[in-house]
Each structure stands twice: as C-alpha cells, then as structure tokens.
Symmetry: C2
Amino acid sequence: MRLAPLLSALALAGCAQAPIQLQDMGSFHVGGREVTITGKPIKEVLFSPGGVPAKVDPNGVYQVEQMYVQYFIPQNRRGALPLLTWHGGGLSGVTYETTPDGREGWVNYFVKRGWSVYNSDAVERGRSGWAQYPDIFPGEPLFLTKENPFERFRIGAGAGSYNKDVAKMRPLPGNQFPLEGYDNFTRQVVPRWTTTDAPTIAAYTELVDKVCPCVLLVHSQAGLFGVKVAQARPDKVKALVLVEPAATGDIKDAPRLKNTPVVAIYGDYIEQDSRWPAIRGNGVKFLDAVRQAGGNADLIDLPKIGIRGNSHMMMMDRNNLAVADVIQQWLEGRNLYR
Amino acid sequence: MRLAPLLSALALAGCAQAPIQLQDMGSFHVGGREVTITGKPIKEVLFSPGGVPAKVDPNGVYQVEQMYVQYFIPQNRRGALPLLTWHGGGLSGVTYETTPDGREGWVNYFVKRGWSVYNSDAVERGRSGWAQYPDIFPGEPLFLTKENPFERFRIGAGAGSYNKDVAKMRPLPGNQFPLEGYDNFTRQVVPRWTTTDAPTIAAYTELVDKVCPCVLLVHSQAGLFGVKVAQARPDKVKALVLVEPAATGDIKDAPRLKNTPVVAIYGDYIEQDSRWPAIRGNGVKFLDAVRQAGGNADLIDLPKIGIRGNSHMMMMDRNNLAVADVIQQWLEGRNLYR
C-alpha cells in the first residue's frame, strides 16, 4: 500500500500542469421579447464592398432585450453553488476577465478555486446587443469620455486629475488601480442607456430561474439588479455579494432578504469623494434594514481590514486577488464552499 | 520497470477527467483611436434609480473603434500557430461558441484539439463597444429582423419561409441548421454599421501584429477583413480559412496571397439562392487569381465531399463538427498541426 501516495502524487503532478481544468465552457442568451416595427421604407444594402447588394426590409419583428451569459464549469467543483458575476454600468462582463494591465481577473480566480462561474453582459451591453431607438428603447444612449471614470470611480484625485500621459495623471495617494492599464480600461467601456432597468431585471431573473440556486456577485449598477432579483427569488439566491453597489432599491423592501446572507464591500477614499459618502450611506442603511428584519448582513470597508488604496474598480486593482480572497473567505463562512 | 505503464495510465486517467485543460484564458482589447467632441451641454444623469445624480460632461475625448479579443490557450498545444476566429456581419464572437441549440461550437472544438484560439468581436460589435453617431460613426446602424437571416443565410426556402412556430418554418430540404435553436440564434444578432470597414481592418491588423504568426479562420463579412489583413501582413498570416466569404477584395490584389495557403468552404443550396451563386462566383475567381499567381488555393464545396445540408451558419449546423473536421484536416495538410 506504500504505492498509493506515490500514484496519487504522480496523478496530481500530471494534472497540475493545467492551471485551469474545465468540465465545460460555453455561452447562451436568455430573455428578451419581440417587437414589431412597421411603416418604414425598404433599403438596398451593400453589406460588404465588392459583395452582392441585398434588399433589407426594416419592417418586421425584432428580437430585443436578450442577455448574453458565458459560463466556465471547473472539473473540481468546490463552490457549493454556481457563482453569477454581474458587471456595472457602461461596462460588460469583460470587467471580471483579465485586468486592463494583463493580470488575472476574478473569473479566473473563482474558476481556479472551483466555482462554476456565469459571467454575463447586461441587456443592451456587449454581446447582449441593443435595440433601435427611439423606436424601441426610450431615450438616448450615454457615452463616457476617457476622463469620466478616472474621476468618478475614485482612481484620480477629483476633477482634472486625468491625463493621457500616465506620468501626468494625479491618482488618489496610494491608489491601487493600474494606471498604465487605464487606457485599456477605457476600451472596455460600452454605451449604455439609463432607461432599461426593467428589461435588465427581467433578463437577470430569467437567468436566475435557469441556473440557480446560486450566489450573486454584483458590482455598482448591478447592485440594484442583484438586490431586486434576490428579492424576487429569495429561494434561489443563497448569498448576495454587493461590490460597491450604486443603489440597493427601496429600503422598505430590504427585509425581503432576511433569509439571504448579504455582504457589501467598499474600497478606499469614500470620505473624500463628493458622491460616495451618500452612495455608501444608502448601502449601510440597506444592510441595517436587512439586519433589523433578522437577516444576516455584513459590511466590509476594506481599509478597516487593512486593505488600502482600492478604487471603485477593485476587481482590476493591483490587489484585486486580495479583495477576491475577502469574498472567498466570506463565502466559506456562509458554508458555500466544500 | 513494469510500473511505468501503470503510472502513466493512472496519470492520464486522472487528467482525462477534465475535457478542457487550459494553460490560460483571458481577454484584451486592441486598436482604436481617440476622438474629441465639443460644444455639447452638460447633462445631469441619474445612473441608477435611488442612486446619487452625477453631472456628465459629454464634451471631451472618447476612445472609439477598439476591438475585443478573448483567448483560450490549451495545456497541450498541438496547433503550430494560434488560430484567430473572426465572425460575420451583424454578429459577434458568440458565433463560434455554443450553438444556439446548446451543442459545442468551434471554439471548444479547436481548443480541445490543442489550438490556441483567439475569438474576437469586430469593431462596433459585441464587447468591442460602438461610438456615437452621426458625431463619430458615419451613417446609421442596421438592425436585422428575426426573419432576415433565416431567408438570407440559406436556412429557409426563400422569402416567407420563416415562422415563429418551428413546426411552420419552411427550411430548405435537408437543412442542417437546428431550427429549434433559431430563436436563440436571433438573440446573438447585434446591430452593425456598413461604414466601419476601415477601422475594423485597422484593429484586426493590430491584432495580427500582436499575436501572429497565426492562422485566420474567417466567416462571411470577415472574408474581406481576413483577405485584406493577410495581404497587408503576408509574413504573419500563415494560412487563411474562408468560410463562405461575403467578399474577398479587389481581384488584382489576390496575387499578394501567393505565399499564404488559402481555402474557401461553401455549404449547400448555393445554386437555388438569388445571391449566393454570385457571392461564391467571386470567391472562385479570387481563388483562381491566387492560383494563377503561383499560390496554393483550395475550393471545398461541402456537398461535393458528401457533406450536405449546410447553411451559411455552418459552425452552428447539426453537422458543425464534421465541417470543423474538414478544416482541421486541411490545416493538418498544410503542416500546421503537430
């Protein structure tokens, strides 16, 4: 029987060569609805120069408001439930992939730790596609300038802190966002509407109905989506990780999460920002309301546990894996890891 | 020494449990440029209901025309070079992922066979984001109705063949497109411009400069992009697989590919379509011109090698892996597999 440890070690050594071992990976779309457009003239379209023209009738039925989801199922599953990662406003699932300076992001982190990860692009973002406006979407899309996230996401020290030249950027002191990757980060920014919350929540709800019970890990704008979907499906969302939620819904609905463990995580520099004290304040009130209803709601201010310098984009910061460790430990503490 | 085969078998058995073994996976953006917008009024934007309003100045510098690329590097690399997969018009890299009816697509196929796969979303599609128009992009985006691809991609038997009810669809006889997945396929369709070829080719060229030497596998609209980029970088594109190219550029430029092995692959029902005989005819002339310049150009009509029923979306058809096998064999024949 002395052979057994040797065989086991050899088998492991053979496998250990592949850092990411997947049982499966793939993608799908969920949700959406059909909308009929009428009364428009037929167009003749040359799709490719040198191609053959085609008549395109813009009247007809369109598929809109669907949502894209990409999944990675590890071979050695240790997360008790699937982990769904929902990105913030003006971004896509790319948020959780490789960081803008080329390091591993949270998708890889959690897949390597044995979580089945479902990473989505919200409705009208990224691979979910978007619908014609004003015919179908109300309002106009919003585009962000290169400097906007630098100043608004607590990377730079307020207005005017952005500069195209990395050496001339004025970051908040000790900021962990990889400045040399900021230009790449702006390549991840996608147009967004502010009028599409209802179809977005509908699509996320359909996703939860399809793949849960699960854990939701949501960032910024998706804070609202995560809270609302967890409230609509309290039996299916077994834990909710709010990474700097931009909003958490009507406070009177907070008690609906009394059976769903919740944690909200905030980075550094909150107090010195013009908007973040109020945003965090709303989150704290929400957690209090969950707790008062008998629920389990934790608040983690990263600086208070010795993790300093985090921007709003903490999944991309230089210490992004230390922040992921905090989430991993919280999930382990909820008995969601085996 | 009798132990060695046993140990080897055990090590393999341990590893064989993970069908997809990756050394790495991740994503990045390439390319694009900066554009300055001036003279617009400042907006007050409430990003999330219940959030905190922010002033958004739409004047400033925008990052536009970048391109998203996702990569999967297998542990056991057998493809001699990276394989870059470029999708067709009105679609995104999702084209090559899971089929709309839930089977494995070509990304998984080629990764499992040991190819490093770089799957991209063209400029202004999917996770590449898009730019405001008419300020930055010329012209308007084009949206496809649910019936348009059914009729144009040789799934249905011409005009009026689409029906929302699968039982009432009128597919071309023997068609291999999974009709029960057609509704999901329409969820993959994204808006597109017809005026963005130049920035798209620029971004693809930057991708080739970053990750090649390589093999390009391109579909439909990307036929033109693949040909033009291979002509611009003949030293870096070592083989070009054209899957039903919509166009192949100016015939006088074809000889520039004399040192790049090329294959064009066409599915079924070409002759009975109103546009496909001309589209295929252009491709055949292109291959002839490459050959006349001393190049290596192959034409594969799938029905002529006994593979029948393929639509324009052959990477999703029921026999999609048989078509992938044809590509794999062609690449092996070019000494691009070890």
